[in-house]
């Protein structure tokens, strides 16, 4: 493990994703990636009494499926890193309560998926854990009621608004060779472009995404051609175009290899405004779908850049602008392991 350039960690020793799983709500299950998810719920309550409990159930199920696929019991995991959008990261803390694993709670808003994955890879590569479990979740209704309004309140949302993904993703990181190798991670800086509209978070996050991607290229001396796919977390229809333009202005044309998880998870006719967002957006698309594109040989190398709007309702009400952050992780297809399943 070493640092290259200013912000990028390179994992020379083999660090692998040994298994991953995703659990989602009804709209995500109905979307174009529905068949790639491990657990699909038919209603937003997921069989629980409240939405918060539903979100907890999603993360618990993602973790359970991930461990089951890896054939590893919770006792054999050395570290659990997780985070979510609820105040006090309630979902992660309550899921960790049920696990016999030392726990680090991380918050990076919707960048948490790659934040936890990058941190887990570094800790495993550094020998501080043999196996580290990462997880993140979001729920449309818990996010709506915490960050916006009651779910049934009649407010007209603009086209720039995004739709929080209901779901959870989990992955097990370890030294034992698996199907997916973690090659590098670029830790982003907090970038505040000065935007104040919480209903246009794509435009608020795009500069952070572009900054991390550009830094990644410069640190590693790579270019967009070195990746089969560069995917951002939840910039959606508005922010993804801005990020692409910002990168073009810096001399990096990513248009042939670029996509956004918020655009991949829903069909255009699903009434989700500008697209999907939330911690689960990049998590379920990466752990549910993108890893399979690697193991099936469609792609060889991905750069997943999870984007987070570090939104505080109090700060927004005090007319403060919205800071944003993005963390990127390079995931490669490793040599096929006959015994492991995706």
């Amino acid at each position: 493990m070493r640092r290259t350039g200013k912000q990028t960690w390179v994992f020379d020793e083999g660090v692998y994703i040994q298994a991953a799983a995703a659990a989602v709500g009804p709209l995500e299950a109905d979307g174009p990636l529905g068949r790639y998810f491990d657990v699909c719920h038919r209603d937003l309550y997921c069989g629980e009494k409240t939405w918060e409990l539903a979100e907890r159930r999603l993360m618990r199920e993602a973790v359970a499926h991930c461990l089951q696929k890896a054939g590893v019991s919770a006792e054999e995991v050395d570290l659990f890193l997780a985070g979510d959008l609820l105040n006090q990261s309630a979902t992660s803390n309550y899921v960790a309560r049920e696990l016999p694993i030392p726990f680090l709670c991380l918050f990076g808003a919707c960048s948490t998926s790659m934040q936890t994955l990058a941190a887990a890879a570094a800790l495993v590569a550094g020998g501080l854990a043999d196996r580290a479990l990462v997880a993140t979740s979001s729920h449309n209704a818990t996010a709506e009621r915490q960050f916006r309004y009651p779910t049934e309140l009649g407010v007209q949302k603009p086209k720039t608004a995004t739709f929080t993904v209901t779901g959870a993703g989990a992955a097990l990181v370890g030294r034992t060779p698996g199907r997916w190798r973690l090659r590098a991670a670029t830790i982003g800086k907090v970038i505040d472009a000065g935007l104040k509209n919480p209903l246009d978070m794509g435009a608020a996050m795009a500069p952070a995404a572009a900054d991390t991607i550009e830094q990644h290229f410069r640190d590693l001396g790579t270019s967009p051609d070195d990746y089969d796919l560069i995917v951002t977390g939840d910039l959606s229809r508005v922010g993804s175009v801005i990020a692409r333009e910002l990168l073009a202005e810096a001399g990096f044309d990513v248009s042939d290899v670029y996509n956004d998880c918020g655009l991949m998870i829903y069909r255009p006719d699903q009434d989700v405004f500008a697209g999907g967002s939330g911690c689960a957006c990049s998590a379920v698309v990466t752990y549910g779908y993108l890893l399979k594109t690697l193991s099936e040989g469609t792609f060889r190398r991905l750069l997943v850049v999870a984007t987070g709007a570090l939104l505080s309702q109090t700060m927004v009400q005090q007319k403060q602008s919205i800071p944003a952050i993005a963390h990127g992780v390079v995931i490669e297809a490793a040599e096929p392991e006959p015994h492991s399943s995706p």
């Binding site: 009651p150 779910t151 309140l153 009649g154 175009v241």
Partner: protein, 144 residues
């Protein structure tokens, strides 16, 4: 020129602007339809049940509020609002939706801290300024 030189200005080209004309037309039609319905209720009620015109209007307002609460409860009022915009805030229906949606939302935290404690979370501001405005107008009327 470019996003990197002046982001706040240049980014506007990438942000879709709201369809103001279409929104205004939809708000006018939906809000007008709601008002017409309320007016029709008031007059229809007045003809069926013998009541003063004022009582008929109050009854119509209560029916409209009940209708809005019912639509909120079945999860349809927010869809209507997405279409109607400001038209859905007409009359008492917008306020009824604000109170009902907050009450439903916080049922999971119990009847006291949740439903009762949070019911005015969104609609409270409208009620406070409504009372202040009514009081101020009342004073004006008294003095004139």
């Amino acid at each position: 020129m470019g996003l990197r030189t002046d982001y706040l200005r240049e980014v506007k080209a990438f942000q879709p602007s709201p369809p103001y004309a279409a929104n205004a037309a939809k708000a006018f039609l939906a809000g007008g339809a709601l008002c017409a319905l309320a007016q029709w209720l008031a007059e229809w009620h007045g003809r069926l049940v013998v009541a003063s015109p004022l009582a008929a209007q109050l009854w119509a307002a209560a029916v409209m509020a009940g209708l809005a609460i019912a639509l909120t409860a079945v999860g349809k009022y927010d869809d209507f609002s997405q279409f109607a915009g400001a038209g859905a805030t007409m009359l008492i229906t917008g306020l009824a939706n604000a109170l009902a949606s907050a009450a439903i939302e916080h049922r999971s935290e119990g009847w006291t801290a949740g439903v009762a404690g949070q019911m005015l979370k969104v609609g409270g501001a409208a009620i406070i300024y409504g009372i202040i405005a009514a009081y101020a107008l009342g004073l004006c009327w008294l003095w004139l």
